[in-house]
């Protein structure tokens, strides 16, 4: 076992990202203390032997937030901080924050009932996009093409058990050129960016989009860093779309996957994350 610095890794499952983080830590002589989010318990007293910083990589947003709060209670820094997870994990709060910071983002209206959502969709115009306020991987996104599909989709959403599905996040449909952009921000630096190409209007890597490296132009890097800092900063994947010649930020992901980006760009993203966590530990 290494006698070097230690970091915590809070996780659910070991995806290629976590495997890469484990390897990056080992190559740096960093001892990684694993916390399995299905086993760990948190009392009110601080346990002994905690690492100074925990990388919060739980795949469950809920578990990540509550664990983050518990580590915070123990005086342990987390990457990312729970405030960041809560804000960036909620599309409504993210949009509000982006707008407050003057960061270009797709036109968005929030409604709290199906009737109000109908009005919001009419105001945005067809096609519109309906997204869950909390969710990922393109899950339960709907492109609303006309009033008939709006009625059907809203009825289905209302029938879903979780009250979060009765928060209606309506966004303009951006006619993007068959791709969107993801910039990976670590601290105040964009470490890499990729295009995600897809025939589907949802360009999530989880939905099979093809990744290609994207140049780190000044508009992209400036916007991505501003968006990451707007939600509190840390390790964040900023998703952008090209809208009529300008870039708009549509999501900031607080527990980002990076297998596709690392593969497309050759950037050692895992190593940059571990280095950043070590830097946080030294602060």
């Amino acid at each position: 076992m290494s006698s070097g610095p230690s970091l915590g890794l809070f996780l659910t499952i070991v995806r290629p990202e976590e495997k890469a983080i484990l390897a990056a830590a080992e190559s740096r002589g960093v001892r990684l203390v694993r916390f399995d989010d299905r086993d760990v318990t948190f009392g009110l007293e601080r346990p002994e032997g905690l690492p100074p910083v925990v990388l919060n990589r739980s795949v469950s947003h809920t578990r990540a937030v509550y664990a983050g709060r518990c580590f915070e209670h123990y005086g342990v820094r987390t990457v990312n901080e729970p405030d960041v997870l809560e804000l960036a994990g909620d599309k409504v709060r993210t949009s509000l924050r982006l707008a407050e910071r003057g960061i270009p983002t797709p036109r968005t209206i929030v409604a709290l009932s199906p009737e109000a959502a109908t009005k919001a969709i009419e105001a945005i115009g067809y096609p519109a996009v309906l997204k869950p306020a909390v969710g990922s991987w393109g899950r339960l996104l709907a492109k609303v093409d006309d009033p008939a599909s709006a009625e059907q989709i809203l009825e289905h959403k209302e029938a879903l058990p979780s009250p979060i599905h009765s928060v209606f996040y309506v966004q303009e449909f951006v006619e993007k050129p068959g791709r969107d952009l993801r910039a990976f921000v670590v601290g105040d630096t964009v470490v890499g960016a990729m295009y995600r190409r897809s025939d589907d209007w949802r360009t999530n890597a989880a939905r099979g989009a093809v990744a290609e490296p994207a140049p780190l132009g000044p508009e992209l890097t400036e916007l991505a860093v501003r968006a990451a800092q707007a939600v509190g900063g840390g390790v964040l994947a900023v998703d952008l779309m090209e809208r009529r010649g300008e870039l708009v930020v549509h999501e900031v992901n607080p527990t980002p996957e990076f297998k596709a980006l690392q593969g497309a760009t050759g950037v050692d993203v895992a190593g940059r994350i571990v280095d950043y966590a070590l830097e946080v530990a030294r602060r």
Partner: protein, 53 residues
């Protein structure tokens, strides 16, 4: 070597680590490594609504 809990195919541990998720080479079921010595797997946890990035 162990067995896939779904199809009983032989599954080898080629440098996998505890917690790693991988598909059964025969039936495609997502499996999770429980232990490496001895090598043991179970069906991976099902994706929940709050899973993601």
């Amino acid at each position: 070597m162990t067995e896939c809990p779904t199809c009983a195919a032989s599954v080898a541990n080629d440098e996998k680590i505890v917690g790693e998720i991988f598909p059964c080479p025969d039936c495609g079921t997502e499996l999770e490594v429980l232990t490496t010595a001895p090598f043991a797997v179970e069906t991976a946890p099902k994706e929940a609504e709050d899973w993601g990035e």
